[in-house]
Symmetry: D2
């Protein structure tokens, strides 16, 4: 049977390699724990939204914040049921879904590389609420987010 570390590694690999839209955007999982998830992605021309100003498309921001929040919610849900059999864990992963998402856009998305972090602010058997943040390589805060996930 997998250890918790192996399971987290497998989920990281799945997020990096097997989710098509994550690959299209170029999202990479940088750090995963029950406390915090950090994703990163480099700027590339396809991610631009405002060609007058050369900044990140708002949809990239909302995508990455949702992925970060969903991953930290999933890791926490899995951590809860880890004592149980792996089948239940896969069931968790299959069923987790975003209920709602709010994004606050604070600064224009200038940057060469971006980092999205997420933490859980409410965690129950049925729902999890997370907060997320997007920063660029200069550590400037681009956007904040809050999301609610169905986890059970």
């Amino acid at each position: 049977m997998m250890t918790k570390e192996q399971l987290i590694e497998a989920i990281t690999l799945y997020f990096n390699e097997n989710i098509p839209f994550n690959k299209l955007v170029g999202i990479l999982v940088e750090e995963v724990s029950v406390e915090q998830v950090v994703l990163r992605f480099p700027m590339k021309p396809e991610l631009i939204g405002n060609t007058f100003m050369g900044i990140l498309h708002g949809g990239v921001t909302s995508t990455v914040l949702d992925v970060a929040g969903g991953l930290v919610a999933m890791i926490n849900a899995i951590d809860r049921v880890f004592q149980s059999d792996p089948a239940m864990i896969q069931e968790k992963m299959r069923k987790i879904g975003t209920i709602d998402l709010r994004v606050d856009y604070l600064r224009p998305g200038y940057g060469e590389e971006f980092f999205a972090s997420a933490t859980v602010i409410r965690h129950g058997k049925k729902i999890a609420v997370t907060r997320m943040e997007l920063r660029n390589e200069k550590n400037e805060q681009i956007a904040l987010g809050t999301a609610t996930y169905l986890v059970g």
Copy 2:
């Protein structure tokens, strides 16, 4: 000088052809007026988020709703200043930005083609608030959204 119809046509072309991330997702402007904007895009493998279930990535949903809301907010802002010179219109287009976005995910994103519509629910000189909806080709409601834009 451009007529209002020519201007709307130019903006539609810009959204379809010149915004890189819109092209990456495959968003096409279907209908544009002061009253309503409708976008559409076909499902394709790169847009999948949940490979267990073969459904649309939540980030595609939030992206398309934000684009629809932003476009109807922009059309309304331009409509207001249309009497003024074209330079001001370009200024409007350059500066419009999402302040915040909320997405409510109602059903799994199954479908072969998707349609996002947006209308303005509050329109002032400085900010606009819009409501958006995503449906599939069977007219099933996938998600609803609300967003606030800086328009002046």
Copy 3:
């Protein structure tokens, strides 16, 4: 045993008479069904927020929208378990809670009487999502809301 009609009447009475903050604001249940809840309340000096302009406090708006959304979510949750025993229904009422609420303030809250309506836009065993609207006696739209409730 109570019929469904008697149960709805009992809940209406409870909302009107037994929730202290509802009484303080002056909220009255006007209409209750699975499809829609309508509340109403008269303007009174204590509800004013902006004394320069004599308009409703934004907190009154958010309160009434949350009460309307919570009531329609509760009625739908109860409708689901009505075949079961009354003890479970009381359990439902006890445990229902707001997860998150968004209010969009569209117009200043001028008016002599206000009406808040709510409908369910997503209804599952665990969570319900509702949309709400506040209008005055001239049928002017003051605010819109969206809320997520834990119902199971």
Copy 4:
């Protein structure tokens, strides 16, 4: 002419004594600066929402978070125009308004006294975005909020 300190004192007095709904709820301004606003209010029977559990009405929570966010947004807007004449400051106070509010309810509102704090996360000439938090006397986090205000 008023100093900035006198102006803040006058605004505090206005919020404590002259806003009818603030008085009805029992909100008191505890701390006011450009960096942070803190409000407090004691529990009282009229503020209860769930009589089964004796907890704070969700509408009280949303009210207090909106008041805290609005006050810190106002203080920041006034700070910007302080060099100008007092007439403009009163104009600011008159016109400030909530565009939208999101509240995340994290824990049941048990407590004898509550504290709402607010800080500005985005501050422009036209809009301000704030984040708010409600805690009880045991420092337990009851709710978080985010709001957008029109300030210019």
